[in-house]
Symmetry: C2
Subunit: 219 residues, 2 copies
DNA sequence: ACAAATCGGTTGTATTTACAACGAAAGGTG
DNA sequence: CACCTTTCGTTGTAAATACAACCGATTTGT
């Protein structure tokens, strides 16, 4: 567990908290470390959740499969990010999505109750973590709104432009790489893979974009 | 302002806080009351926001119009609900959507900084409000995920079923009314109004639903 | 190095949706 | 009551999308 303290230090949740404080907090917050290999489920839709979870290393997808096997990807979590925050409230019910490791991943569970209940003097930075968490959830909120934003686009092309523009902005460059493969991107944007593939090629032929594998360039 | 204290008492933000405490908090939190008539904008996309806003009375739409006038409705706020929570974090940027009154509405602005900065002893319940806010944001988060859920449906029919089922569940009855008119519902589900109207009638003819104006019944 | 699996692009067809235009019904106003 | 506006359903056509199937290239596992 100790070796993840430098990683935790750089997460939004522990922003502004020193390594020593983090170490003392780990037991106070009932931190439990778990490893998952590619394809394993961290959370399954319908489960009750009592933890805020930080991804120390790896990559996760928040997704949902319907009865017919159609997959819908809500988003992805990369190292340092947190999830499970939508279930901290009492009576928030069960998880609406699965969370799956897309590669070997290490996650740390924190008991929600312990986070929200301020504890003994050993945790002077406890309230700072709560505030960090507060901002993190608020930011997550914004991200969901942004996703809704490009989900509300009608055509595959508009969704692609909306998504790719956001990525370009996020990575501060018109030349960037994405972490989805084609099928995953299609599941993320809720479109048909082949139709999307088709549209991407049309856009390339029209000179709007260039791409090679997961590397894209906008014009 | 005073006459809204009983209303505030029933909001999630002030849950568990007595009327006297609310009254003393109002000045502490720099509460400002504003009235808006139908069609007026409470927030415009691109504005900076420094307040958490509670809707005391009326109804609001969170929406966005693109360059060509296509409207997309993200959600609606009804009396007692709160909004603006996605912008509490520092550096959260400007508002991503407009907020518009769909009827005569009364809203109360609370300064975010004052909410998060614990104040003098006069506000013993201050930390409870912060925790309430915390849960409220988390819950909002869930709602956004749910909306993404039916936005990720491919066809108009599936979106309608997803939305109508949720409403039935929310109102605990297969017979319920919605607060959107047809155009608004279409803007909410990101589909064409006439196509949606068409689909609704088909579903009725197939015996899946019944409806009359804004009153629906599922079978 | 080979076999198997995965991934990405392409094509044709059936289905679905968007768009524009129209008319009837309901509601509001002078 | 006449007039105007809003709302909702309907229709036909053009456009976009889903679906299934196929193939070549790349990657993975042994």
């Amino acid at each position: 567990m100790k070796k993840f303290i430098p990683i935790l230090k750089r997460t939004q949740m522990f922003s502004g908290v020193g390594e020593n404080e983090i170490e003392s907090m780990l037991s106070c917050l009932d931190a439990r470390l778990c490893e998952f290999s590619k394809g394993e489920y961290i959370i399954r839709q319908g489960e009750y959740l009592n933890d805020i979870i930080v991804l120390a290393d790896g990559n996760l997808h928040i997704q949902k499969d319907d009865y017919w096997g159609n997959r819908s990807i809500l988003g992805q979590i990369s190292a340092g990010e947190m999830f499970g925050e939508a279930y901290v409230a009492p009576n928030s019910g069960t998880a609406l999505n699965d969370v799956v490791a897309t590669e070997k991943s290490t996650v740390i569970f924190f008991d929600v109750k312990r986070i929200l209940t301020t504890c003994s003097s050993a945790c002077r930075f406890h309230s700072m973590v709560v505030q960090n968490l507060f901002f993190a959830i608020s930011e997550k909120n914004r991200k969901l709104v942004q996703k809704l934003d490009h989900m509300s686009k009608r055509s595959t092309r508009e969704k692609l432009i909306s998504y790719l523009s956001e990525e370009a902005k996020k990575q501060s460059s018109s030349h960037f790489t994405i972490t989805f493969n084609r099928q995953q991107l299609a599941d993320f944007l809720s479109v048909d893979r082949s139709a999307m593939s088709n549209e991407l090629c049309k856009m390339r032929d029209e000179g709007l974009i260039e791409f090679k594998k997961n590397s894209f360039k906008l014009f």
